[in-house]
């Protein structure tokens, strides 16, 4: 005897409580504080801020704690929170040329004004597990030099003075915002850059990598990668001028791409651009490569049919919150659809069976 199942409500409540218990883990082990996550898992925090499109390290750390370390889930929490925030205004464009750099490297010039600054990077570490970290209470202090006084002009600016690199023009139009208007294709570079900077790190990395392996190759050099804090200023209408309201740490990558010229453009270097919240250099470099690949049309290049050249393909699949939601929704009940498929398959099989019988009889 079958009685219609009730109790979805209680099941959900119990599941939530179990989840909370699992999140906490063994209560004999000290609980993580949000500040600990913010300070000691800062690259995870940076990724959540970048893809969550919200610059708030404490909220990102809280989201990571609540999400049990699942960063896409944490990004989702931040996005859902971000939606509820009122939009007061917008900043004036930040000047990354005046960045207080923690790290600044160029792969195209051995030395340059302002110098190469390696900064806190994994680049030349040997990836050997450091078992000393398993023992607690190990604090390390790095040697410290006074902050550099010399300005660090952008590498692409230096190339631009000689006319060797394609110029970027400010058309004066206000950039559009994909979180406030529906996406339409072709989207244009402003929306592309926005989609890429908040896009999934793994997806953007994979797309960038595909260009390096020959699917729309664009010969990139890291002209410059810089990481550091920039002040954020906002025009206050009542004051009539811009005042500093805080600062954000950004990673900026400009690639210099070899370019033999096209039907419309002379031989010169071209650029790809990446700008991401926090110390997120893998993402910023990936973004620059994909940005460059997507610029084939404006530079008069051929579309070789590579995935990374396809704006609609890249942009409509780069958002991990959309992707994970739609992917995981197939866990939801689909009995009704499945039932209709079941009927159809049974019917087709019946008819195919009858057909075979008839053929056998003949």
């Amino acid at each position: 005897m079958y009685v219609a199942v009730k109790g979805g409500e209680r099941a959900i409540e119990n599941a939530h409580e179990w989840l909370a218990e699992e999140r906490r883990g063994d209560t004999g082990i000290a609980e993580l504080s949000v500040a600990q996550i913010r300070e000691q898992l800062s690259l995870a925090v940076n990724r959540v801020m970048a893809e969550g499109s919200l610059y708030d390290a404490d909220l990102a750390a809280l989201a990571i704690k609540q999400a049990r370390g699942d960063l896409i889930e944490a990004i989702f929490l931040i996005r859902a929170y971000r939606t509820t925030l009122p939009r007061i205004g917008h900043s004036v464009p930040v000047d990354t040329g005046a960045m207080a750099c923690d790290r600044r490297i160029s792969a195209t010039f051995k030395d340059l004004p302002g110098g190469q600054v390696l900064g806190p990077t994994f680049d030349y570490t040997h990836r050997l597990l450091d078992f000393r970290l398993a023992a607690e209470g190990l604090a390390s202090a790095a040697p410290c030099a006074p902050a550099a006084e010399a300005p660090m002009p952008r590498v692409t600016g230096m190339l631009g003075r000689d006319g060797l690199i394609q110029e970027e023009h400010d058309d004066g139009a206000a950039p559009r915002d994909m979180t406030r208007a529906p996406m339409e294709y072709p989207a244009g570079r402003d929306l592309r850059l926005q989609a890429l900077t908040r896009g999934d790190e793994g997806f953007v990395l994979g797309m960038a990598y595909s260009t390096q392996r020959g699917y729309g190759r664009n010969h990139p050099f890291v002209g410059e990668l810089r990481i550091g804090a920039v002040p954020v200023e906002m025009e206050i209408p009542e004051l009539g001028f811009a005042i500093e309201i805080g600062e954000v740490v950004l990673t900026e990558c400009e690639t210099v791409n070899q370019f033999a010229g096209s039907k419309t453009e002379p031989p010169q270097f071209t650029r790809g651009y990446g700008l991401v919240f926090g110390q997120t250099e893998r993402k910023a470099i990936s973004m620059a490569l994909v940005d460059r690949a997507l610029r084939w049309e404006e530079l008069g290049e051929d579309n070789v049919g590579a995935p990374a050249q396809d704006e609609e393909f890249v942009l409509s699949h780069s958002d991990n919150i959309q992707a994970t939601g739609f992917l995981e929704h197939i866990k939801l009940p689909h009995y009704v659809d499945f039932q209709s498929e079941l009927e159809l398959v049974r019917k087709l099989r019946r008819e195919a069976g009858a057909e075979q019988m008839r053929e056998a009889a003949e």
Partner: protein, 289 residues
């Protein structure tokens, strides 16, 4: 949850969504782009339907949510609780009492009446998507009424299988103009797309809203020699005995036994309360104990 506006979304966002809804009603079957917001439930879980409901609910409404025809499936429970918490509206499981019904994958068996609104959750609003993946192209095809590709697909089905091999999300032609995806409802439900109620379709991830005003002409695509057929399991409901409802197939043991029961649980319960009984039903009073 007093920290949030009535029905969660702020009034500016609701206004934007209402404009899309009105445009959708003015051009039945046309997919209106809208600036879908990130909701506190995942994309694919009904964010489009939730945003449409949030934009149209008023405090006097009585709200019903179904998923697979049932009020008790987990996601239906979750969405109902969301609006209980954020809008404080009355809720019901009775189709006839509801002013707004949000649904996933079914149209209620009871005919809807004037004044009711049915809100669908839509995963992929574009009926041409699996024939042409590019949005830029499909929008052009709709604009030019270029639906040949769809007819070729249906024809190929018949050539290959002897039938149109689409069992749910069966495409329809709205008011002789737009080909529309009715969301993944079984094709059994398609005839009830012509309704006295307002029908609104929300696709959150895909940022589209579309609509059917009351009594809009909705024709399921077919051929003269292969007319559309609203099919269902060839059984009667084991609980209420109804012979004309869409049925869920429930596996009752590991020896191949099956129970077929109405997928619309409210309809089924109402029939049992009125004394109808199917072959496998316990007396109704017992099930309510």
């Amino acid at each position: 949850m007093t920290d949030y506006n009535f029905a969660y979304l702020d009034e500016q966002t609701k206004r934007m969504i209402r404009r899309a809804i009105l445009k959708g009603l003015a051009v039945p079957g046309y997919q209106v782009p809208f600036a879908s917001r990130e909701m506190p439930m995942p994309y694919g879980w009904g964010t489009g339907g939730v945003q449409v409901s949030a934009a149209i609910l008023v405090p006097e409404d009585r709200f019903k949510v179904i998923d697979q025809g049932s009020d008790d499936t987990t996601n239906a429970v979750s969405i109902r609780k969301f609006f209980e918490a954020t809008a404080g509206v009355a809720t019901t499981t009775h189709t006839t009492e509801a002013t707004v019904i949000q649904t996933r994958h079914r149209i209620p068996e009871t005919a809807l009446t004037e004044g009711q609104i049915l809100v669908y959750q839509v995963p992929i609003p574009e009926p041409l998507r699996f024939l042409e993946p590019r949005e830029a192209e499909t929008r052009k095809m709709h604009a030019l009424e270029e639906y040949g590709l769809m007819h070729v697909k249906l024809y190929e089905d018949i050539a290959r299988h002897g039938h149109i091999a689409t069992a749910y999300a069966y495409p329809v032609l709205v008011q002789g103009r737009y080909v529309m995806d009715p969301s993944p409802i079984p094709k059994f439900d398609n005839p009830r797309l012509e309704s006295a109620a307002i029908q609104l379709f929300g696709a959150g991830r895909e940022q589209r809203i579309y609509a059917l005003p009351p009594h809009t002409r909705v024709v399921s695509l077919d051929f003269e020699d292969h007319p559309f057929e609203a099919s269902k399991a060839d059984h009667a409901c084991g609980l209420c005995g109804a012979g004309d409802t869409y049925l869920d197939e429930v596996i009752t043991d590991d020896r191949g036994s099956r129970l077929f029961a109405c997928s619309d649980t409210d309809y089924c319960e109402a029939r049992r309360a009125a004394g109808h009984a199917g072959a496998m039903a316990a007396p109704y009073a017992e099930t309510q104990a």
